[in-house]
């Protein structure tokens, strides 16, 4: 195999702090996050954009990090599951998953929680259909989805109570 590409340096903001790494330009952002930046909360499921386990936020938009080449992370703002809690205080969705049994084996959980948090950022009071749509790109093989759905509903209610 001809070896042509050189590793490039990519600078971005990850979970609110400046980050910089070296990677081949088409390395998957998923692998960079896990192996270079040691943020192993982001999981790999299918590796082809079907399961949502590797969901992260890039510039506020939910993306599958397995489908983003490292080069395209240059200059972006990234949020992973590690950046969701503020200080010692869990995000409402994280707390609701704990309280309502939204997680079992845990592989889908970081992506599921980021998808839900991203949904609530766009629609603070989503209806049931919006919640289902917001989670439809994230597959879970344990829970049967109802506990996840109920967790998100609970997070919405908690936010409403506070408001």
């Amino acid at each position: 195999m001809p070896e042509r590409a050189r590793k490039i340096r990519v600078s971005c903001v990850v979970n609110g702090g400046a980050a910089s790494f070296e990677a081949y330009p088409m390395a998957r952002l998923l692998d960079v996050l896990r192996e270079e930046l040691k943020l192993t909360g982001t999981k790999e499921g299918c590796g082809e954009g079907e399961c949502g386990a590797c969901s992260i936020e890039m510039d506020g938009a939910l993306v599958n990090s397995c489908l983003v080449p490292a080069l395209q992370a240059q200059g972006t703002k990234i949020r992973t599951i590690e950046g969701l809690a503020i200080g010692g205080s869990l995000h409402a969705v994280q707390q609701a998953f704990l309280t309502h049994g939204g997680a079992q084996c845990g592989i889908c959980t970081p992506g599921m929680i980021l998808a839900a948090a991203n949904l609530l950022a766009r629609y603070p009071q989503p209806d049931d259909a919006q919640i289902r749509e917001g989670l439809s790109g994230n597959l879970c093989r344990c829970t049967g989805y109802m506990k996840i759905f109920e967790s998100v509903v609970a997070a919405v209610r908690r936010a409403e109570t506070r408001a």
Binding site: M1, P2, E3, R4, A5, Y24, P25, M26, A27, R28, G47, E48, G49, E50, G52, S55, A61, L62, V63, N64, C66, L67, V68, P69, L71, Q72, Q74, A115, N118, L119, E133, G134, S136, G137, N138
Partner: protein
């Protein structure tokens, strides 16, 4: 087998001119790379044939939307998410918005682009039938200039298209003449979300005094390319949308499509569903 990453180069051109210049310097070697929702899947599977890519994701010249009295013009990098949020598109081009909403998940819709969907040239893509119904034209640019082509004739055979080495899809232009037409879209897949189509149907018609004055129909996943059902359209023009014309229209459609058995469905199933979707479309027109 996973791809050997050092074999793949990617550069970020500073603007469209630089991108086209790079593509012209080694024709057919440098390929545009947008949201990555198709190409990264091939990469991970070790099946990405080209090895030099230009990251066009941030090129402003390929983004944005312009509205004139005749057209709505969309940059090739318009994402599915942007399509669904645009009020003009929601009001006048509902089929495109439906197709965007039913393509992949939220995460896919945030990265997948109209231009990418066109250039990936899958006969199972969901936005192309809507683009054909709206008589879309696409602007193709290269270092040598620009040309507009009718999208309905852009795909020539399976994964082949009227796009030469060094050329890039820049914009997509839709005619604003269909807003008052009756419109119908239905995608049939294994699952409501995320599934690739078994079959996809987009249709629109202008109905006057109970007759179909004009009609456009296109289908995905029933032929080597997205199919513009011109013979069915010819047969329906001037007819009343009802049971009298249904059988003949279904027969015409059956003759026009050429579905196959594949991992997602079978040819007989696709033929049956195509007939049923046409019947449902005519019901919408009659209603």
């Amino acid at each position: 087998m996973r791809a050997y990453l050092p074999a793949y180069e990617m550069e970020t051109p500073r603007d469209l001119e630089a991108a086209l210049g790079r593509m012209a310097s080694e024709p057919g070697v440098w390929r545009p790379f947008a949201g990555g929702t198709d190409l990264m899947v091939l990469l991970e599977a070790g099946k990405l044939p080209h090895q030099k890519f230009l990251n066009i994701w941030n090129l402003a010249e390929l983004r944005g939307m312009e509205v004139s009295s005749e057209h709505v013009t969309l940059g090739a990098l318009t994402t599915y998410t942007e399509v669904q949020r645009n009020k003009t598109l929601l009001r006048e081009f509902p089929l495109l918005c439906r197709a965007a909403a039913e393509t992949g998940s939220v995460a896919t819709q945030n990265r997948g682009t109209l231009g990418g969907n066109i250039a990936n040239a899958s006969p199972a893509a969901d936005s192309p039938p809507a683009l054909i119904v709206y008589d879309a034209e696409i602007e193709i640019v290269s270092a040598g200039g620009s040309r507009w082509v009718h999208y309905a004739s852009f795909h020539t055979e399976y994964k082949k298209m009227n796009l030469h080495a060094g050329e890039l899809i820049r914009r997509i232009r839709l005619l604003r003449t269909h807003a008052q037409w009756k419109q119908y879209f239905r995608k049939v897949g294994t699952r409501r979300a995320q599934a690739i189509s078994k079959i996809c149907f987009a249709g629109a018609a202008r109905v006057e005094a109970g007759r179909i004055a004009d009609v456009r129909i296109a289908l995905g996943s029933v032929a080597p390319t997205v199919l513009h059902a011109v013979r069915v359209e010819e047969l329906l023009r001037g007819q009343r949308p009802g049971s009298a014309v249904l059988q003949a229209a279904q027969d015409a459609l059956n003759a026009e499509i050429a579905p196959i058995d594949d991992m997602r469905s079978t040819a007989p199933y696709r033929r049956n569903v195509a007939r049923n979707l046409l019947a449902e479309f005519l019901e919408v027109l009659a209603g």
